[in-house]
Amino acid sequence: MKRLLILGAGTAGTMMANHLNKELDRHLWEIDIIDEREEHYYQPGYLFLPFDIYEPEDIIKPIKKFIPNSVNLINDKIDKIIPEENLVKMANGDQLHYDLLIIATGNDIAPEEIQGMKGSEWQKSVFDFYTFEGALALRNKLREWEGGNLVVHITEMPIKCPVAPLEFTFLSDSYFKDKKMREKVNITYVTPLSGAFTKPKATATLEHLLVEKNIHIESDFAIESVDNENKKIIDYGGREIPFDLLVTVPTNKGSEVIARSGMGDELNYVPTHKATLQSKKHQNIFVIGDATDVPASKAGSVAHFEAEILTENILRYIAGEPLKEEFDGHANCFVETGGGKALLIDFNYTHEPVEGTFPFPGIGPLRLLQESRMNHMSKLAFRWIYWNMLLKGTHIPFISTTMQEEGKHF
């Protein structure tokens, strides 16, 4: 019996367990998946939790509910990978031998990277919303906050879901309007980029929305420290921005397991072939989702498209066939713009998001890069799709794995 081992039972790992459970010859292959947590978090929900749109129970379910019975779920902490010996060492001393390894260990925030960020004001007036605890603490803060300077801030790229901080900004505008206190709040969006987003055409649309909603933008801001006493953030050029409430996206880093195994770059991301998803160093190791260093967005939609291609490549690898160089960096994201509307963007390594229709060229029904109620309803409906289809590896109808160029206005 050979063993395929998956590290991490988040979005990417769970999808791979479901795909491979169906595709691999189970008389020949044992599949194991390891995660130290017992709960699966619907991470897109972290955006809605602070605004009382979702409740905690909407976004947490047991991991084991989504892992097939014929896949062995190991609920324990990983110490490190020893790739030269095809071994994974567990924190309790156990050693697991693998024939094929899939790394799906994701990424996490690292607020300790910036001086003062995790200081005396952490979760008092300095918050993150990229963790469940952070989003929940922020919800409690917002419920009682009486207004002032709200600063929404990105520390450095790359981050998970690069549109989330903008969505947070738009949703706060709506939230304070609904609470009849918008005039008591100044909203500033602070980014290390030169504009609102990483891609030029979407940036133009999004900056227009910021102006419309009276949100001030501070670009090219590379934070050096958080001054807890005087409540301001300071950048390397000496620029200072005061806050009463700072909602920051700290530096994102890959798992410490990767660092301990000596397999990552300076942010613990695993060097990965961007079209096949094979590790650049070890042929029997594949990497998926936020754990890779590929130049695609770190997002669930990307992991979903990667999973379909990676499944095929694993079958090819086992059969001794050449891998398919097919992954094109495809991402598909709904961007909440507040007031019950959303934008939809669809892009890949080479094509930036543009206007058009989706998924049917010329028909839609969804419109790309334009605000609509239908896009917002689709984003809310996506939670059901995530729990009931996506994690289980069910193909989502009409959505192609590689990006479709028809119906788009390049």
């Binding site: 450095e156 990483t198 090219d220 390397y236 300076e266 942010l267």
Partner: protein, 102 residues
Amino acid sequence: MEKTIAGKSVAVNEEGYMTDLSQWSPEIANELAKESNLELSPRHFEVLEYLQTQYKNEVPLTIRRVGASGVVDIKEFYALFPAGPLKISSKIAGIPKPASCI
């Protein structure tokens, strides 16, 4: 498109970034620096040389990587090329604008 810099015709893109590093020279760098109101010192050139080497080795550049390079720390990098140091220094070094990613 073509642009005349320091008396030489060089290939640039619409944002003014050079598209052929082999056309670069220290004189061109001095001219490009003036466009950003900078006067280049030997220290600036050490950083430019590092950026060009990284580019030739196809290592994607980020502020974090420059800061960890041992050539210059982030504080000094900002002092040498104020505002957006990576964008400005890349332009003067004759390499493409760093894809600030995704």
